[in-house]
Amino acid sequence: MAAPHVTIAEASALIAAKKLSPVELTQTCLDRVAKLDPTLHAFILHTPERALAEARAAEARVMQGRARGPLDGIPIAHKDIYCTAGLPTTAHSKLLQHDVPDHDAFTVAKLADAGTVMLGKLSTHEFAMGGPSFDLPWPPARNPWDPARFTSGSSSGTGAGVAAGLFLGGTGSDTGGSIRGPAALCGIAGIKPTYGRCSRAGVLPLSFTLDHTGPLAWTAEDCAMLLQAMAGHDPSDPASADVPVPDFRADLHKGAKGLRIGVVRHFHEKDVPANPAVLKGIEEAIAVFRAEGADIRDVTLPSLEDYRAAGFIILISEAYAVHEPWMKTRYNDYGELLRDRLALGGLISAADYFQAVRRRRELCQITAAAMADVDLLLTTASATEAPLLEGMPKWTSMEKPGFTYPFNVTGLPAISVCSGFGEGGMPVSIQLTGHPFAEQTVVRAAHAYETATQWRRRRPALAS
């Protein structure tokens, strides 16, 4: 019988040792889905029969000594902007409510080839941007630590589902923070890899030069395992990087000793002052890293607002280009939040878009120079704990810059991991950022932190 909750790494080892049946593990997850998803709304589409068939196939492979690798038999689910052949891919929108692609996204196919078991398709903010919305065909996902609270987005179903143990990991996308935001507010791990590390082919676009695909899971090590399957060159994605894919877990045993970590204090102390529990989590993380033998220093970057200005103008302009035909003909078929945000992209000038792209290069150069003497940057992924879901002001997401934009603008790999609990027992986070294609170092540091702290031992009461 499966343990109440297992990580991907634990389940993988148990399956390999033939001590855990992929079918039993999948059934445990499906039972949890049946019990909790009516509250959490993590899923848009459940595929239990397909999941059990895939689990039986995985189990047969394992028993016959033909396992496909460490992810064989691991239950996951996909954000519903990832195309899945023969299954609806809706983007949580009325506009694609009945759309059924004839192909899998490149990363969906790679995860399937690795033997993962797909439990279904997951809630998102509409087209990975408009949410949380109550005027769409499906309700928004809710936070397992308190279902009255927001998951963040846009990979909201993945965040909620992983935190509740409905599945062990899942896919997300991150254009301005949509992997790291839900990871932060749902108390899990989520990595946005370097731009180009994972293919975007077959994933519905939001902003061509800012979109990243990547995984969310309970731990940094689990993220590394999923990333291992997702990463790799894809000629069908013009932004895909033709670079070697290292073993992302190879350095996990090294701990944080010798790593040079730059703390971007002005982000969370001055630019957007973070809540007390977030600040406490950062200071405790600094102490943990120092005790582990890391070299800690302060680093100064441009302001969060500076990154947000370039990032948001690029995002909204590129997103409008994607949606322009529908915006002109089906405006009111979108949810209010998405359509009124997207409209902004149709109103700014081409010159301002290009000024933002020029500013982006300057920001990349400044950031690279500031990181010359460090391996990693440390800040948070969210200034606050999860707010209440209902009654959020419509334009609240535009009021203050987020902590995640800088690393979409610069394309650098960044992970959010849980760093404790604050108001109402809601999770808080730290965010670690590395050099281009240095995901190995990012997950090494995050794993060292998780191993040295207790936060991975606590699950939402609802899921216990």
């Binding site: 405006y331 009124d340 792209v357």
Partner: protein, 65 residues
């Protein structure tokens, strides 16, 4: 802070974009979101001493297209 663009000029921008927004939608976006967009746009137009030859972050490379 209110938008620098007048309500009438903003409505003209909306019409030029081909968007069929209601008066209430125009009022909401003009009052609550457009002032932020104006601030962000002003921010990326600088710094004042930016060399006019500064290149964008993505450039056209014929061999890659």
């Amino acid at each position: 802070m209110p938008a620098k663009t007048s309500r009438a000029d903003f409505a003209a921008l909306v019409r030029r974009a081909g968007l069929a927004l209601t008066d209430a939608q125009i009022d909401d976006i003009h009052a609550n979101a457009w002032p932020i967009m104006e601030r962000l746009c002003e921010s990326v137009r600088g710094p004042a001493d930016r060399d006019r030859a500064v290149e964008p972050a993505h450039t056209f490379k014929p061999e890659q297209n």
